[in-house]
Symmetry: C2
Subunit: 417 residues, 2 copies
C-alpha cells in the first residue's frame, strides 16, 4: 500500500471527534455551543490544549507577533518552504463547535496520521490556528491571516479596541502570557509553498445534495457598513409625531428599503443587519440615535458595487427629519482558488471514493488572505441543516473524517512537489 | 395686602433658580443634563440636599416604606389632613434639569414663601418627592405614588429588579441609609385633603401659544407593551434568504406596520418604540431574537383599545417565518382632575395676571395616582421647544417662578378650606 493510502487510512475518526468534544468544553455554553471569542481566556485555554497535544507528538510549536499559532511536522528537507493547513479556534459569542475548530483539528489530525503511518514528506507541513477570524470582539475579522499576508498592518491591528475599550495589544499579551509559545520572527509572515483549509460548509448545499466533499473553487466578496441615524430625544408622551425626530422610525424606513432593494431573484446576494443599537434605550423616550451594521456578500464585485450604490442612495434619500450616514468599514474582494490545488482536492475525493461537488464559499475564510501568497484551496464538509454561527451547529464524525482524509492526501501531494 | 398676595410675592425667582442649578450638579452630565436614576447614589445626594434645605428652615422631614420623601410645614390645626404638593427627583438616563425636580422645588419654594411672608395655614402643607417616577431603571414608573395610593403593592415593588439584576429592596435600603429620614408609619399612604403638582409641560403647546400657565384638566391614558420576535441564528455569508429566519427582518416589518397603523390624522395618539434589543448582536450573524418596547398614549380609553387591537393583529399576522408575541406590561387609564382644583389654578393664574390655557397632560405624572385619593390638579409651565427627556431640556427662571406663584395661591386656598 502506498504512502497516500496509508496516511489517509491512518486518519482516526474517533480521535478527531474526541478532540472536537474536548475543545468544545473550552468556552462551552449551556445550549451546547461555544463562546470562545478571540484573545479571551477561553482562546488561551484552546491554545494550551492544542500545544499540549502537539508536544505529546513531538511536533514543534511557534507563534508570531499577531498570535497566530503554528504546529510544525518536520520535512526530510526541513529548509524547504512548508505547506500550511488550518483555520481558527475563536468563535462567535453564540457559536458552534465546528466553525474554524474543524480546520485546525483536521490539520492536526493530518499531521498525526502522517506520523502514525510513518510517512515522511519532503516539505515540512504545519497546522495553523489563525488569530481572530470571527471579528465579533475585535474587528475586522480574519485578522491573523490578513496580518500574516500583509493585507492589514500589524500596528493597526494592535491598536483595535473591543466594545469594552480593551486594546487588542493588551488582550494579545495576556493570551500569549497564559498560553506561551516560541516566537517565530519579528513580523508575521514567511514563505509558503501551499495552503489547504478544511471547514464545515456553513450552508445547506452539501447536505441537500447528499454530497460529502465540497471542492471549494472561490470565496464570494464581502463588504461591511455602519449606518448611523441622528434624531432628537424627546418625551414619548408629550411630543406630537409632527414635532418628532425619531431615529428608530427613520431606521425602520431605511432598513426596510435596504431589505427590499437587496432581494435578488436568484437569492445569491447576502444582506444582513446583525447589530442594532438604539439610544438612549428608554421605553418612554423617543430614540435620538440609532446605528446598525450591514454585512453584504456576493461572488461578483460588480454586483456588490451596484448594491452598495443602492444602499448609499437609500441613506441619502430616506432619513428626514433625521440625518443619516453610511460608512464602509470593510471590503474583501472575491477570491479565486488555485486550479492545481482545486484539482488535487477534487482528485483526492474521487480517488478515495467520496461524493463531491465544486462550489463557491459563501463565508469568508482565512484562505482568502493566504491565496495571494501561495497555491491555495479549501475542503468543505456538510453541516446539519446548513446552520452555523449558532450554538446548535452540528456535523457528523464520519463527514469530518472524510474531509480530513481528502485533506491529508492533498497536503501529502503538495508537500512532495 | 392680603396673605395670598404676600405669599405669592414672597416667591423668589433667584432662589428657586439657584436651587435648580444646585440640584443639577447631582448626577450632572457633560451635555448639561442629569443622570439621576431612581435609588442611585445621585438620588440619595438629591434627598440629602432637599433635607438639608428643609432643616435649615425648621421644616420636619419624613419618609415612608417606598422611600417617598416628605417636607412638612405645620398648620395651625396640625391634626387636620394635610395638603400635598410635589413631584419626583429621579431622572431619565439622559434627562434634563427640570422634569420632576421643578415640581419638588416649586413646592419647597411655596413652603419657604409662606414662611417668609409669615402666613399661617390651617392645614399642614407638605412638599413631597415621590420615588422612581421615571421607571427607566426600575419598572413600572410612578412607583412611589402608585404604592402610596395602593394602586401597586409595596411587596411587588420591593422585588422588582433593574437590568443589572439589582433588587429594588436593596437599592432602596442603600439609598435610605445614605439619606436617612424619620419613617412615617409602616405602610405608605395617609389621608390627604388636596394635591397640586407643578411640572414643566414637556411639550410645545404653551411655548407655541406664548402662554405662561397651563391649567391641567386631565392626563392621557398610557399603555406599555413588549414585543418579542423569535427567529434562528445563522451565518450571514452562507445562509440563503429563503432559508433564513431573520428576527430583525420580521421586526422591521412589524414595527413599520405598527408605525403606519398609529398615524392618526389629528396627531393625538403617541406611539413610541424606545428600547430595541437585537440578539446576538454580531455583524455577521443573522439575528435570532429581537425584542422591543412600545409606549402608546391617548386621552381616550376607546382609542387606546382600538389601537391595541391593531397592534395585536399586526403581531399575529406579520412575523413568518419567525414567530412573534406581544404582551401588555402596563395600562394606566386616563385621569380627569378635580373641577374645584382646576378652578383654583385657573383663578390664581387669572387673578395674578398670567396668561393661561386649559390643557390635558401628554405625560403621565404622579398626580394620576393621587387623584383617586383627594381633590387633585396640576400647574404646567413652558419648556424650551417642548423638549424633555433630553439633556438639553430647558425652562426660564421667570416661567418657573410664575408657576410657583400660582401654586402657592392654590395651596393656600386649599389649606384654609
Amino acid at each position: 500500500m502506498n504512502d497516500i493510502d496509508r496516511a489517509a487510512r491512518a486518519v482516526r475518526e474517533d480521535r478527531l471527534w474526541q478532540r472536537h468534544l474536548d475543545m468544545a468544553k473550552l468556552g462551552g455554553t449551556a445550549k451546547g455551543g461555544v463562546n470562545r471569542q478571540a484573545l479571551s481566556p477561553e482562546d488561551a485555554a484552546a491554545r494550551n490544549q492544542l500545544m499540549g497535544w502537539a508536544k505529546a507528538r513531538g511536533f514543534s510549536v511557534f507563534t508570531d507577533a499577531i498570535g497566530n499559532l503554528f504546529v510544525r511536522r518536520a520535512g526530510s528537507d526541513d529548509e524547504a518552504r512548508p505547506i500550511l493547513s488550518g483555520s481558527h479556534m475563536d468563535s462567535q459569542p453564540t457559536g458552534g463547535r465546528f466553525d474554524g475548530m474543524y480546520g485546525v483539528l483536521a490539520a492536526f489530525e493530518a499531521l498525526e496520521a502522517l506520523e502514525d503511518a510513518g510517512v515522511r514528506t519532503r516539505r515540512p507541513i504545519e497546522a495553523v490556528a489563525w488569530t481572530n477570524e470571527e471579528g465579533s470582539r475585535f474587528q475586522p475579522g480574519a485578522m491573523g491571516s490578513a496580518v500574516f499576508a500583509g493585507h492589514y498592518l500589524l500596528a493597526s491591528a494592535l491598536t483595535v479596541t473591543d466594545w469594552k475599550g480593551v486594546v487588542l495589544r493588551e488582550a494579545l499579551a495576556e493570551t500569549l502570557a497564559a498560553a506561551p509559545a516560541t516566537r517565530r520572527g519579528d513580523a508575521p509572515g514567511f514563505a509558503l509553498d501551499g495552503y489547504v483549509e478544511a471547514h464545515i460548509e456553513q450552508g445547506p448545499r452539501l447536505e441537500n445534495a447528499g454530497t460529502t466533499i465540497g471542492v471549494v473553487t472561490s470565496i464570494q466578496g464581502s463588504r461591511r457598513f455602519m449606518v448611523e441615524i441622528l434624531g432628537e430625544e424627546a418625551h414619548a408622551g408629550t411630543t406630537p409625531r409632527a414635532a418628532r425626530k425619531d431615529a428608530f422610525v427613520a431606521a425602520v424606513a431605511i432598513a426596510g428599503a435596504m431589505q427590499a432593494a437587496t432581494r435578488d431573484t436568484d437569492d445569491t446576494l447576502r444582506f444582513t443587519i446583525g447589530r442594532v443599537d438604539v439610544q438612549p434605550g428608554s421605553p418612554n423616550t423617543v430614540p435620538g440615535r440609532v446605528s446598525f451594521s450591514i454585512d453584504m456578500r456576493h461572488p461578483s464585485s460588480e454586483v456588490l458595487d451596484a448594491h452598495e450604490a443602492k444602499l448609499r442612495a437609500i441613506v441619502a434619500a430616506g432619513a428626514a427629519p433625521c440625518t443619516a450616514s453610511i460608512e464602509r468599514t470593510m471590503a474583501v474582494a472575491p477570491t479565486v482558488f488555485d486550479p492545481d490545488v482545486i484539482g488535487l482536492v477534487r482528485d483526492a475525493a474521487r480517488r478515495q471514493g467520496f461524493s463531491h461537488m465544486d462550489m463557491p464559499s459563501g463565508a469568508g475564510h482565512d484562505a482568502m488572505h493566504i491565496a495571494g501568497l501561495c497555491p491555495t484551496g479549501m475542503v468543505f464538509v456538510p453541516c446539519e441543516r446548513g446552520i452555523s454561527h449558532n450554538e446548535v451547529e452540528n456535523a457528523t464524525p464520519a463527514d469530518l473524517a472524510a474531509g480530513t482524509r481528502v485533506l491529508v492526501e492533498a497536503l501529502l501531494r503538495l508537500a512532495n512537489r
